[in-house]
Every structure is written in C-alpha cells, then in structure tokens.
C-alpha cells in the first residue's frame, strides 16, 4: 500500500531493474485507464507482483485480485473436458439403451440435443451461477470476474463461451473430420489457428483468453482461506514469555518480511525447518542459551513463538507511528 510505496525511496534497492520497471509503469499509468482499457475503478497495484490487480469497491476499499495462472486455467479446462466426456458417455449409454428398446427417434433426439446443450451450455450454465466458475474452476479455486469490477453479466459469460467454439471446438472438429492428402494443409492451418488461440493468454499481461478479451472478463484466484489460531496467543507463549525475554536490540534484528516467513514456518509444522530457523535466529540475535534448545523441538518451537510474538509486537508498535520496516535491510 501507500506506506510501502514511500518506503521505496529510502530503501536500498535489492533488484534495481525490477524496481525501475515498476516505477516507470506507475508513472505512466497513474490511476486512470491503461493500455488494455480497464475502466476507472481498477488500476494496477503499486506492487512488485505483476499478477495482482486492484479493484476499488464502492465502499472505497481496494481489494487485491490475483490473476489465475495459465497452468491452473488449463488444468481447470481439462477437468471440465473430462467431466463433459463422462457426461457424454453416460448420455450415450442411456440413449443406447433406449435405442435398443426400439425407440430410435427419441434416442437420437436426446443424443443430438444433449450433446449440443452439453457442448455449448455447460460452461455458460456454471459461470452464470453465484460462484462464477465451472466445476473444474471451482476445484482449482479460480473464478471468472468482470474486468471493470462490475457485475459479471450473463451476456459476458455467453460471449466468452461462444468464443470457445472458435478457440477450441472448431480446430478440434476440423482435425477430426478431415483426413487424407488434400486436407493435410487444412489440418495444418487448423493446428496453427488453434495454437494461436492456445497461446494467446501467454502474450498479454492480463492473461486473457480471446473470449475474455472480447467479453471484458478475466479469470482470478478465488481462494477460500480459513482463519487459523493467532500465533502470538498460543499457550507456550503466554506461559513462557518470562522464560524468553529479548532485548530491544535482539528484537530489532528483523523486519516484516522475516516475520511473515517465520509465521509460515511456524504454521507449516516441519520439524526440520523449525530446527534450522531457530538455529539461524539464535546466531543472528546472539541468544546466549542457544545450546539448550538443541534437538528439542518443543523448546525450539516455544522459542520461535516467543520471538515471533515479540517481533510482531515491536513492528506493530512502529506501524502505529507510520513506519513499516520492510525487512532486515530496512534500517529505520
């Protein structure tokens, strides 16, 4: 946020090239429209992560959306494809049964209509629902959203999926329906055609599929996170805070970035990394009783927890005065 933006000025740059880029882009685009025509209520976050997009809610809070990885999207599409094929096989089995029991007409109608509906409306039906995602997308925790931050309209969903016909089913149909020497060239062209669309998301910074581009949508991550326990309030800390007391200098060794790494490690519950990290912190802050913690995971964890709580307390206190100490190199 803004505080991190101000930090940049006095902060010694670790990766100068990247920083330069970010600054240029910010300077050029400011808050308004940019090249891809996103409307006024979204803009590129002043952030190093190029996959984060910011959406301003009507209440004036900026929500950060993370664009879905191309790999995740392909995965979701494959899952949907497999589900559609399974549904088609079920449909064939059912209609086959009716067919044998001598009502050929109804069987054929169900088959043709069913295949048509499945192919054209599977995606639309699910994306028009409240989750804005097909089953494959739900499984991989991504969803479709409107690029301008407004409603995901039925029209947009319709358009982005009508384009799927051109992007995927048309070349596929060509490849299957044509064979023989004369059509070799047509096959090749179909292949090139589908490849252009296949790689389209790789060549624009918003990872838009042609359908997204046309319909004004994009695909973003929609994680459903759970709230875990607050590490600063675990029993080991409350009981043992007197046991581990840190001097101001010791607490001052790290910044926010290290705090978050420490938090992740404490939540991961891997005894090996707990041992490694506690050893490193002990050296860094010159903790005197370090040898007592050796090979004792419970104690190491208690030590790390206590240090986490102390560090967070100190950094948060600074935060209240408007200083966000980015990481251990940030000397303020």
């Amino acid at each position: 946020m803004s505080s991190s933006a101000t930090t940049k000025k006095n902060y010694k740059i670790q990766k100068p090239i990247k920083h330069k880029n970010g600054k240029n882009k910010l300077g050029k685009n400011k808050l308004g429209k940019n090249k891809l025509g996103r409307q006024k209520n979204t803009y590129r976050a002043p952030n190093f992560d190029k996959n984060i997009r910011t959406l301003i809610t009507p209440e004036g809070i900026d929500l950060r959306l993370r664009l879905a990885d191309t790999g995740t999207r392909i995965g979701a599409f494959l899952i949907d494809l497999i589900l559609m094929i399974i549904a088609l096989i079920l449909l064939l089995l059912i209609t086959g049964k009716i067919f044998i029991e001598d009502d050929r007409e109804i069987a054929s109608i169900i088959l043709i209509l069913g295949a048509f509906l499945l192919r054209n409306f599977y995606f639309m039906f699910f994306e028009m629902g409240g989750k804005g995602a097909t089953l494959g997308k739900r499984l991989l925790k991504i969803r479709v959203a409107s690029r301008n931050g407004g409603h995901l309209t039925a029209n947009a969903v319709f358009a982005r999926n009508a384009l799927r016909e051109v992007e995927f089913f048309l070349p596929l149909g060509l490849v299957f329906s044509l064979s023989g020497d004369i059509n070799g060239w047509i096959n090749l062209m179909a292949l090139v055609w589908s490849l252009i669309f296949l790689f389209f998301p790789l060549f624009n910074k918003d990872k838009l599929r042609a359908g997204d581009l046309i319909a004004g949508t994009w695909v973003v991550n929609a994680p459903r996170l759970r709230l875990s326990k607050d590490l600063s309030a675990t029993p080991t800390v409350s009981d043992g805070h007197s046991k581990y007391r840190f001097s101001a200098k010791q607490i001052d060794a790290y910044g926010v970035r290290e705090l978050h790494v420490l938090e992740n490690i404490l939540r991961m519950k891997k005894s090996k990394s707990i041992a490694e990290v506690s050893a490193r912190i002990i050296t860094k802050i010159q903790w005197k009783d370090g040898h007592m913690l050796k090979d004792n995971e419970v104690e190491q964890r208690a030590f790390l927890n206590a240090y986490y709580a102390a560090l967070r307390g100190s950094l948060e206190a600074k935060l209240l005065f408007g200083v966000r100490r980015k990481d251990k190199f940030d000397r303020r």
Partner: protein, 339 residues
Amino acid sequence: MSSSSLKSHKFRLDREDGWKRLEFLLKRVESRSLKSLTDEDLIALPTLYRATLSSLSVARATSLDQDVTLYLESLTTRAYFAIYGNKSSMFERIGYFFSHSWPRAVQSLTKETLAALIITVLGALIAYSLVTSNSDWYFSFIPEGLAGDRSPASTYEELRKTLYSGGDSDSLSVFATYLFSHNSRVAILAFALGFAFAVPSVVLLLYNGFTLGAFIAIFVDKGLGYELGGWLSIHGTTEIFAIVLAGSAGMKIGWSVAFPGERSRMDAVSSATSQSAAVLGGVIIMLFCAGLLEGFGRQLIVNDEARYAIGFVALTLWLLYFYLPRPDEDAQNIWDEIS
C-alpha cells in the same frame, strides 16, 4: 510484555465473530442463492460485509498477522462477488431477456442487420445470375452432399419431388434436431469470428446467399419458382433472419475492433460484444423454432399457400417483436447493469 496484550490480537478477538458469521452466510449464498437466507440474515449480510471491509483496512494498516490479513482479503473478495455479483434469479433473468434485452439488442443492431441482409441478397443475386447463365457454376456454390437430387441436370419431376416428399416421417424430428444443432453452430461461428474485422462473418453471409441463389436458379429454370418460394419461406423467414442477425452481431464486433471511435479499443469491443451476445442467444432460440418448422412443418404441410402463410406470419411476428418501439431506455440501462 504479555503476548495477548498485542493490539492486533485484541482487534482480532473483538471482530472474529462477525467474520465467522459472514463466512457462514457466504457459504450458503454461494452454494445456493441469496434467497436461501432468512430475512434476518439478509439484512445482516451487507452490514457484516462493510464491517469486514473496515476490518480489512484496519488490519492492513495495523496488523502484521499475515494469516488474518490474507483471510480478510479472501473473505471480503468473496463477499464482494456475492453482494455485487448476480442479483436476480435465473428465471427473472430469462424473463427479462425475452421482454427487454433481446429485442433491444436486435434494435440496436438495425444498421448491421440491414447490411447483413443486403450482403445475403447480393450473394443470392450473384449466384442466381451465374447459375442461370451457366449451370456449371451450380456445383461451385453447393457442395455435393447438400445437393442430393437437386442439380441442374435433374428433371422437373425430380425437383418437384424434393419439394413435397417429406421423406421418412419417422426421422423428421431427428432431422429437425440435427438442423438445429448444425445451424446453431454456423450462427455461433458467424458471431465468434466477427472479431477478425467482420470479414469471416461477411464471408459466411455471402456463402449463405450463394447457396440460396443457386437453389433458386435451378428451380426457377424448371418453372418451379413459386413452389420453391413456399418450401423456403415456411422455415426460411425464421432461419435466414436468424443467420442474418448472427452475421450482424459478428459485424458489430468486427466494426468496433476496426473503428473503436473515442473509446479505447478494448472498451469498445467489450460493450459491442455484450450487446451482440444477447442477439446471438436469441438467434439460437430462433434457429430452434426454424428447426421445428423445417423438420415438421415443411415435411407435413405440402400446400404452397399454407407454407407461404406460415412463413409470412412467422416473419411478421418476429418483425413486430423486434422492432415495435419500446419506452424507457433508462430503465433498460439500469437493468443491464444489474442483470
């Protein structure tokens, strides 16, 4: 310093219940709909959403508990989509589509529709004059499979038979379903390929016109023009109209790609697309009707006048439905925002 005295921890303890309640409500909204909430929950939802939003901005500014901030980010985003996402139910949307979105979208494409119609007629005229002057042209326009018994070499009797014999009446409905699914794909293509500066849409329209013109030419040649008119018009008024509309939707998108006007190209394309997508959705429905008329109506009704009458009535109904003037433009815009 006691750990539980961290301000950010106290902040979390104070507000956690609200977050959890919002999460619980969201789970229900997402898996079913807003309607599954009780009145009390429905009133609580926006309040909880705003409270959580404010928690988020406080947490960003004061808390370094990554777990809490990430959780709040994900929760508020979900709530945002649930609250500002789809408001109306599926049925309301469908009803509104028929009463407003579709006819209005068609109206907004009047210019393109006229252009598409002219292109189709032009294609038909070209093919007609070429085939009349030299019947060899016929096979350049009509693929072998579609031609069947209809070729310039066919006799009067053979051609006449193709107009009136319904064929195997058992397979009528299969035929209708097949036609529907085939034509719909052509329509979706005419729309979806439009972004390439409308060229593919125009080509598809021209090609459609060619087929039409070539057919007319060989029938007129044998003096079956009036009969062919009946055969075509019973379903053709709906089907050709639908293809013309699909083509015009594609042309609209292509036009906005080529000439975005004052807006950015992406903006222009998105808004052109959302209009023409509604048209295309309607086209699929029209093609369904055309498939029924073609599969059943044309094969069962062999009287020329009746065929003409049905075709004419269908056309009149479509025209009235689409082009009758409709009031309140503003209300329309508001609804488009919502739906």
